[in-house]
Subunit: 387 residues, 2 copies
């Protein structure tokens, strides 16, 4: 047998910057002109944002002398499909754009995931930048390089790691964000506090009204704090081999709920319930104090997010979906669990903590007994949770 | 404006080995058992190879205690589509395979490109190994990490760089390769000689009959030589930013012919004509001697490969498609051109040599005047080429 080695060692630098500010349009175009990411830009957004945000941004690009086109697709998580991905690719190709093109993802997490994935595989990879317009995009989805689409068998089953070349967070986009989307984004903010930043958690706990009023200075500081946490965690573990798993707090149960709802439940809403559930599990396992779990549930509720599992969702079904999502690990489902507000459990160096299904099922069962909050209004008091 | 840097510098090692030998089955399974690439394996092949090669390999995997399934798709370049890619993904998912899965691409270039691409994006990337069964796969397609599918607007427009974890070249697969496929593979062998290995070129020139008889020792040595060239070029330039372009000798015109033929022309046949055309262009440009261009054309013909452009192909149409393929570069098409047998042109450090369309069109016009060789027989004498 003959052996021919192929040596492929190299230093890879995928570093980039998140810029956070207000009225960023002019700065974005100056930045892109200087950096020459592409000879031309294709802005991709969704149907809700096309006229209101897409066209003004395209005009700003063109005023600065950048070659820019704009395409869009139907808004919503239900667009994270092969069909819509293919349509975006076809749209880019129909513009006669080649490998000298950079894509611009303008929108929420769905736009970022789809456009990032198209950028990852168009001509075997072209650059892209993220301009998140939703809170969830600004604090989470746009950062970290995870891109992809859903498959009937599970979320993000098809995708790629492809880091953006820049993330531009224009806080002004929050002003016109629909209430339900804004609130959903707060779930990821609370998550950041729980997993890594007690002061962020307490700042929101102390003045939730400033957050709910979307005060721009408050929001800028909150977004910066979340970006710094995500930046640190992603830098430490770009491919999610271990520490990055802490970002999944609330997401194991959250994803399962989202899947079972047929994506009618917003991601942030599902994560909110997931955080309450997983904090309770951490409590039962003796990792987290009951009072800390109570505080998490109370803040989630105070921000207008759901905390109870709708009665239609059977605990066994939720765990079955969670098992399917995590099928890589045989046996127990591993969760990212807090040990206190601001710190995550790490057992023998491992951030994925396996729990018995019986414990998880009991917590889910209890959370389903809570009076459902029905059509959620902001400022509803926290429902009393069975513990 | 607040700036949050995301630092993503890391050392990446994507090195792997090509193993070349006969009767490799047992060795492959031992190797995989030792390396534990995945907890389970999905073998993917095409309809022609399913029973003859796929089932025996699956049996070999299972005998060794590896968890292995086998799926297949219709053979042929026309399968390099989104539809077939989606079907492979669905097939893998239907097996309940998760991110602990490694894929095995068993087949020619089409299988490798498709399976490599599915591996690149399934669960944001899983490992895969290549087991090429065609000559073109053994000397070219399976090595280098280029994966992808075709789009009506162009070849490989959607794809990814995703290196295999190993390439296993079992020369025994050549025994039963259909003659047209074997011959097509010889085009890439000749290419390797022209771009980087005068001795390989002269060895084939000296004893073409040993090659055409598929003598196993001769073929092992030829494949090894080609793999070493490709390994060197890919290691120097994994993302095709410059030097790797030399691998495109014959491919600029070749791809255009392939596209215009609706992929009815085999890749190797198109590359054979492309090499003759591009060698003539290098001659006209004064980069290559006319005698060297003659030798290239004569060897291509001696191996049973076509050298003339079928009359249906209009030079202007060929160049239009080539412009579209290379649309990243404005203006002139850049070609990879030999300066002598075994060495490629490099002008001011750049391996893509721009040529005027008028010169290219004249060469293509002349090559279309050559008496078409019709249904090609092996051992036809080289047609006399107008120069």
């Amino acid at each position: 047998v003959i052996r021919v080695p192929i040596r492929l060692r190299r230093a890879l630098d995928e570093s980039y910057e998140i810029l956070i500010g207000r009225g960023l349009g002019p700065r974005i175009t100056v930045d892109l002109r200087r950096r020459r990411l592409g000879r031309r830009y294709v802005l991709v957004t969704d149907s809700h944002l096309h006229a209101r945000c897409g066209e003004p941004l395209r005009a700003a690009f063109r005023r600065r002398g950048l070659v820019a086109d704009l395409i869009s697709f139907p808004a919503g998580e239900s667009s994270k499909t092969r069909r819509v991905r293919d349509a975006i690719e076809d749209g880019v190709i129909a513009l006669d754009a080649g490998r000298d093109t950079a894509l611009v993802a303008l929108g929420g997490g769905v736009v970022g995931d789809l456009v990032g994935f198209v950028a990852a595989t168009f001509n075997r990879g072209v650059p892209y930048v993220q301009i998140p317009t939703t809170l969830i995009g600004m604090v989470d989805a746009a950062i970290g390089g995870k891109t992809g689409i859903n498959h009937p068998a599970g979320k993000n089953l098809i995708g790629a790691f492809h880091h953006p070349s820049a993330v531009y967070v224009d806080v002004d986009y929050l002003k016109t964000l629909p209430p339900r989307q804004f609130t959903a984004g707060l779930a990821e903010v609370v998550k950041c506090g729980v997993i890594a930043d007690r002061r962020l958690f307490e700042a929101i706990e102390g003045h939730p009204e400033r957050v709910l009023e979307r005060d721009p200075d408050t929001m800028s500081r909150i977004i910066e704090a979340c970006c710094r946490i995500k930046a640190r965690v992603v830098a430490e573990d770009p491919r999610e081999s271990n520490r990055r798993k802490i970002l999944n707090f609330g997401h194991t149960i959250g994803h399962a709920l989202e899947t079972l709802s047929g994506y009618r439940m917003a991601h942030g809403e599902a994560v909110a319930i997931g955080m309450v559930a997983e904090a309770r599990m951490a409590g039962r396992e003796g990792l987290l104090s009951v009072s800390a779990a109570d505080r998490i549930a109370a803040l989630v509720a105070r921000l207008g997010l759901p905390t109870a599992i709708p009665p239609a969702f059977d605990p066994a079904a939720i765990l079955e979906v969670a098992h399917r999502d995590k099928k890589a690990r045989q046996g127990r489902i591993a969760y990212a669990l807090p040990v206190r507000i601001g710190a995550m459990a790490n057992i023998a160096g491992e951030y994925g903590i396996p729990l018995a299904d019986s414990l998880a099922a009991q917590v889910l069962h209890d959370l389903a007994q809570v009076r459902p909050s029905g059509r959620r209004r902001p400022f509803t008091p926290a429902p009393r949770l069975a513990t």
